[in-house]
């Protein structure tokens, strides 16, 4: 899958992106001055706490900002070198799933509760490849890829466990043969042992399919294990970026180092838990 030339444009790039939310009472800036790059085959993380703007970024990458409320005020989004900033919804439809697909934290809100899982996966396959000769065979192949039993096609979402639902979501995403998977907190709602299975599956899929991943997460442990590069977001801005090992072992920004200490959930020499103090504190 490494058949790209060095000159090939990145899969995803944003340039000084600014996104505001407008409501009757006024407007707030959710994302500002955001420049990120994801290249083919890369695994990149966007970390931050609630309200930092990371999910807004994920939504904007797929043209999913709430209409009229969320607006791109400045900057550009480039997908495979093409400027999609001003794309209309029908234009976005062409891009969703391929080259970029997305999985969410809560699969139940995405899946149709009254449609069998097999049909939902088949829809995704046919949408991007209407002439597929044998959709059923492709669905079976996708189920195997996400390590679900073949019998799952007849299940309804409510009959499946949280981990299995996340696998269905992945199968739907993979049905579009994405080059980049945006995963917005994909394991946050899962138990740790299930989380480990899903992360293992994602790693395997990335290797086998050469797929890139942009992982949106608040869990620094997961990011440490899964991602080569990381962007740290705080109050709508990127405050630090670089190789995950470098950034986490030697953070240059005070917020990043506070976040890492807090994430370790260890007590310091005075028996206290680490908190983030000063200008970067989030008052509880």
């Amino acid at each position: 899958m490494a058949a790209t030339h060095d000159a090939a444009p990145p899969l995803l790039q944003t340039e000084q992106l600014r996104i505001d939310y407008h409501q009757r009472g006024g407007s707030v800036t959710a994302v500002q001055d955001l420049s990120i790059v994801v290249r083919e085959g890369e695994s990149v993380a966007l970390v931050g706490e609630s309200g930092s703007g990371k999910s807004t970024v994920a939504r904007a990458m797929l043209g999913l900002l709430p209409p009229r409320i969320g607006r791109i005020e400045a900057g550009r989004i480039l997908i495979e070198g093409k400027d999609v900033t001003a794309f209309s919804q029908p234009q976005w439809e062409q891009l969703r799933g391929h080259p970029i697909a997305m999985v969410f934290q809560d699969p139940l809100s995405f899946l149709n509760p009254v449609m069998r899982v097999g049909r939902q996966i088949a829809e995704s396959v046919q949408r991007h490849d209407p002439d597929v000769p044998d959709a059923a065979a492709r669905v079976a192949q996708l189920l195997e890829l996400v390590r679900l039993p073949a019998s799952s096609i007849r299940s309804y979402p409510h009959e499946l466990s949280g981990g299995m639902r996340q696998r269905v979501l992945l199968a739907i995403a993979l049905g579009c043969r994405p080059k980049l998977l945006i995963a917005d907190e994909p394991t946050t709602a899962l138990d740790v042992t299930t989380q480990a299975e899903i992360l293992d599956l994602l790693r395997d899929l990335r290797q086998r399919l050469g797929m890139a991943m942009l992982l949106i997460s608040h869990d620094l442990g997961v990011v440490w294990e899964e991602c080569e590069r990381v962007y740290v977001m705080f109050r709508s801005r990127i405050v630090e970026s670089g190789g995950t090992r470098e950034v986490f072992s030697n953070p240059s920004h005070a917020y990043t180092s506070g976040l890492i200490k807090a994430a370790k959930a260890a007590r310091n020499s005075e028996g206290r838990f680490e908190t983030i103090e000063g200008e970067f504190s989030t008052t509880a």
């Binding site: 706490e49 609630s50 138990d191 740790v192 042992t193 299930t194 989380q195 480990a196 992360l199 608040h218 869990d219 620094l220 442990g221 997961v222 440490w224 294990e225 090992r245 986490f248 072992s249 506070g258 976040l259 890492i260 807090a262 994430a263 370790k264 959930a265 260890a266 007590r267 028996g271 206290r272 838990f273 680490e274 908190t275 983030i276 504190s281 989030t282 008052t283 509880a284």
Partner: protein
Amino acid sequence: MTPAPSPTTQPLLVLDRISKTFRIGRKSVLTAVRAVSLTVHAGEIVALVGESGSGKSTLGRIALGLLAPDEGSVAFDGRQLASLSPDEFRELRTGMQPIFQDPTASLNPRRTVRELLKQALWKTPGSNESRCIGLLEDVGLRPAAQYLDRYSHELSGGQRQRVSIARSLAMQPKLIIADEPLSGADVSIRGQVLNLLLDIQRSRNVSYLMITHDISIARAFADRVAVMMQGELVEIGRSEQVLRTPNHPYTKRLVAAVPALG
């Protein structure tokens, strides 16, 4: 069943061979808790760790007297819950207070912080504004007067959790049973709330039974850790020992699954 023995020798909470099953539909039965025994001593912090469906929350509800066990008994402060009259139970139960995961759900949205606290102070009628302010200061909401007239939707998630902790403290409890009190919180807030719980333990000699799925928190916060799997207690011991050198295969799996920061 001897009434009120010396509290130093007697554990504060004794769960003795607790079992609980639930009926699902007409045919099937789910055993949520199976013959679990657990004690919490005065001033001690015990963490109850397990994944969803392990029965840890059911056990917490049984300890609080919110659910009756099918088998086994609960004793708090030397007295069997099952042997008490409703009035006695009501009185004893003030010494054992819950904190839940979602403070938005446990705080009445139509009451101000002042009303919420006054309600919790029912044991001491005529308690005035200064008691409310004292409680808010104890949980780190300062200046307290600023918070008295707010409704819960006007508070941040961390502030809301502090108000529900203040409500628990109003009862002057000996034991706080906290069911996933941090799972909705960001890491930066997590540290602040854990420090607050430690401060309360020190200043009021409160014990905690903390129900959590987060092993790193259990390790750092608790004196002892109990691990539950599918309704059974599979391992219990000093936190460091259980989580650094686990014995049971499930505990090993659980510890290995936690992504560690290098």
